[in-house]
């Protein structure tokens, strides 16, 4: 499914701030794998996910997803195959737009945006059902601005958006790190549910050893100073 080969990333090369984030990292995920990667601050966890997502160009190595080399593909082009949830709950949604508009944006991930109306009536009914399953009362607030929601609600919504159109790979970037323990547990449970229901291949990074072991079917590896220790 996902092959990462000899991935290398150096930030600010040639300056005093030069920082090698990843050196020759390789990782393989089979279809349906839930791999967690643990590491401390600055270990290169986010760099790993951002390299896969195409946020910046990498300095060496190859990323292959489902047989397709996506190493040089721009971020918005590879988004078609990826579902992403960020560490910052504010990052995954558009605050000034309402819940259904956010879902509608995610529902069309990877598609050409046309001059058709942004949200159709059929979709709206589907969103209501899906939000109802979240059990956060959001199904009654479809036209509320997302900025009014709490961090936990926004993260749950982002998760729903990331999986609304089943991605080939789900990328979770410490997506519960900014939440309080109770909310974090809820969001993790939701993650597990959505991943199982949709049979998603998932790559999650976290600094929480407990979560990593509990959730990862293949508790992947630990990143330490730009190297993957075990795999």
């Amino acid at each position: 499914m996902l092959y990462i080969k000899d991935l290398t990333k150096v930030f600010n090369p040639g300056t005093v701030n030069e920082k090698t984030a990843l050196t020759g990292l390789s990782l393989h995920l089979a279809p349906g794998d839930f791999v967690t990667v643990i590491g401390g601050n600055g270990a290169g966890k986010s760099t790993l996910l951002n390299s896969v997502a195409g946020v910046f160009p990498v300095d060496g190595g190859q990323v292959t997803l489902d047989g397709q080399d996506i190493t040089r593909l721009s971020e918005h082009r590879r988004a078609r195959y990826l579902g992403r949830v960020f560490q910052d709950p504010m990052m995954g949604t558009a605050a000034d737009m309402n819940i259904e508009e956010n879902l509608a944006l995610a529902y069309r991930r990877g598609q050409r945006r046309t001059l058709k109306w942004g949200v159709s009536a059929a979709e709206r009914a589907q969103y209501k059902d899906l939000l109802h399953e979240l059990d956060l009362g959001l199904e009654k607030r479809l036209t509320d601005k997302v900025g009014l929601l709490s961090g936990g609600q926004r993260q749950a919504l982002t998760l729903l958006m990331a999986t609304l159109k089943a991605p080939k790979l789900l990328l979770l970037d410490e997506h519960t790190a900014a939440l309080d323990p109770k909310t974090a547990a809820k969001v993790l449970a939701l993650t597990q549910k959505l991943v199982e229901e949709n049979h998603l291949t998932t790559l999650m990074v976290t600094h929480n050893m407990h979560d990593a072991i509990r959730l990862g079917k293949k508790t992947g590896g630990a990143l330490d100073n730009d190297r993957l220790l075990l795999s």
Partner: protein, 298 residues
């Protein structure tokens, strides 16, 4: 007095189209686009040039809109492809347009006095000049509001709105944020170009200087509209822009009637906008100050 008021309203309506353009960049895309200072006279220059060549004024106004779109495209490309900050991209386009506008007109200004304009047919039918401008400008502004309301509700329009909100999220949904920014700038500057064309036809001349300070006028109208008439729905916000532009012109007419030196107008506008932009923080400051005073009282 009625004449003055009607003049202010008609001018406000023509400038409201420009205000809508400023709204698209400043509020929706979250970009302060200064190219409008060059696009407004560009629209005026293109329209006047074509009218002096006996070309149909409606066609001339449409070409002014297209010229504005091109200017927006230029700013958009500078910003997204050359990675020049948005503010600077706008300034570069604005400066470049100064030369282009002189080229188009062949002189610092171009008169179309007694030539055909989009307002003439109604005036010939017996309407007063102001009434004709209000009618044509009003229909045009309302039509544009309708189109924009529809457009920003579509998939494409939603993607542009989201781009102004959270670019990272938009890219994660597979949308090219660069394209969305360019598109927004093109639409915005197209509207400003059209506005310039209509303003020039209403005053019977185009002037290379007529864009100076227009961004501040646009912002002032926008803020007045939001504060006085703003609401939750997008449609209401668009209508508020027209009303804001009209109220701005009424205020200007009023202070001029009261005897303000016309040379001080831009200073007056700048101070008004500065105060309006400070308003949200100012309210906060006032609240803290009141609390402190209350404590002292105890």
């Amino acid at each position: 007095m009625t004449q003055v008021l009607l003049g202010a309203v008609s001018l406000g309506i023509l400038w409201s189209i420009m205000t809508i353009g400023v709204y698209i960049t400043y509020r929706i895309l979250d970009i302060a686009d200064l190219s409008v200072e060059g696009t407004l006279p560009l629209g005026a220059a293109v329209a006047c040039f074509m009218i002096t060549r006996d070309i149909n004024p409606y066609l001339a106004s449409f070409c002014a809109l297209l010229a504005g779109c091109l200017a927006g495209l230029c700013t958009g490309l500078l910003h997204t492809k050359l990675k020049i900050p948005a503010l600077l991209s706008g300034i570069l386009t604005m400066i470049a347009l100064y030369s282009i506008n002189l080229r188009v007109m062949g002189a610092p200004n171009l008169s179309i006095l007694r030539m055909e304009t989009v307002f003439r047919p109604l005036a010939r039918a017996g309407m007063s000049n102001s009434a004709a401008i209000i009618t044509v400008g009003g229909v045009c502004a309302l039509l544009l509001i309708g189109i924009l309301y529809w457009f920003f509700g579509t998939e494409l329009g939603s993607a542009i709105r989201a781009t102004g909100n959270n670019q990272r999220m938009v890219r994660a949904q597979g949308i090219n944020t660069d394209t969305m920014k360019i598109l927004g700038l093109v639409i915005s500057n197209g509207l400003v170009g059209l506005s310039g064309a209509l303003i020039a036809q209403s005053q019977s001349f185009a002037d290379v200087q007529m864009g100076t300070g227009s961004i501040v006028i646009g912002l002032a109208s926008l803020i007045i509209g939001e504060v006085l008439f703003g609401g939750k729905s997008f449609f209401r916000r668009l209508v508020a822009l027209i009303l804001g532009a009209v109220v701005y012109r009424l205020i200007i007419a009023l202070v001029l009637e009261l005897g303000m030196n016309p040379n001080d107008l831009k200073l007056f506008t700048a101070i008004t906008v500065a105060l309006a932009l400070w308003l949200p923080q100012g309210r906060e400051l006032l609240r803290t100050f009141r609390k402190l005073l209350a404590k002292e009282g105890n």
